[in-house]
């Protein structure tokens, strides 16, 4: 019974890791396009700044989610 719960939790951690990997670079392409001067001006600079901080926030939250999930998995009774 506990093995099933542990396996399920391990699969959930893998799914969360995959989600994090897929969306890690979600805002990278827009940042690159803004670095290539797609849109210039004072408003554009604010947008670029907001984009970079949004990307940092996204990556921080994704990392925290993965860390929390792995910590929860470590506390669970593992396979004998």
């Amino acid at each position: 019974m506990t093995d099933g719960a542990y396996e399920e939790a391990k699969r959930a951690v893998e799914r969360i890791q995959r989600l994090s990997d897929d969306c890690w670079h979600a805002l990278d392409a827009s940042c690159q396009a803004m670095d290539d001067d797609a849109w210039v001006g004072p408003v554009a600079r604010q947008f670029h700044h907001a984009l970079r901080s949004g990307r940092r926030e996204l990556q921080a939250q994704l990392g925290e989610a993965v860390r929390d999930a792995r910590a929860k998995l470590a506390t669970m009774p593992g396979k004998p």
């Binding site: 897929d22 001067d37 210039v40 929860k72």
Partner: protein
Amino acid sequence: MTYPAGDPNFSGARMPAIDTLVSRHERAAFLLEQLAGDLWRELTGMRVDTTPALRIRAPAQSVRSQTTELQTRRTRVHDMQRTGDGTRLCTVEGIFWRLPEKAVPTPVPGQPPPPIQWPSPSSCGMPTRCRVRGGCVRTAPRSRRRRTRCSVGSPRTAYAKVTEDSGNGHYDIRYDVPMLTQLYQGSDLKQWEAALAKRSARNDWGKLDPQNPMALWAQRNRSSSTPRCPRPPWKVNPRPATPVRPPGPPPSAPITPTTPTPRTGPSPTPH
């Protein structure tokens, strides 16, 4: 820092780059929305703190609103490039089209104008009958309901649109709504049935050469095998299909004139 346009206060966009920016940002908005939901679900399933998923919602919402604003700007740049007017700045990196600071939706010919965003009375915390200057519009409940009901996407307008611009009188199946909606019950069916009866009477099926063992077997054993479905299947107690009427008022309803008869005053024309 060197500004690409030279002047730090010049605001504009470069043509191929802004298209890639907008498309990538749209994709990012979609990804973040999906991510927020999926991550919350996974974390809840694991009974882990869902704060990261809730915190991702804020960037997701801001990316979505940024996307709509960028789309407005991109439409404006396309419009300027198409018509040729608008200030442009040619640099080594490319041609920058000058944009205003605020993203105002550009009317594009061929598309309906963007809907006017009425400020909803619920957005401000004031009661509905308020007189805030420059704030929410004071509206009676009935007029507010009428304004928010939109008839653009309703089936009635879609049907009317297809038959309206019907190819200047020439037939085109694209404008033949009964044909497209399977309402056609023409005389061709009778001709086909007569031809089928003639063929089966003479047992002349033309140059049929199926080479398919199943078809050959069926041809040999047509009379002997008891078919599940009777031949011909359309002649056995057909249930008449319910006719599909285009949406609108039913014709059986009596058309009562609702407009009152006009009462004309004395004629102003001098005799």
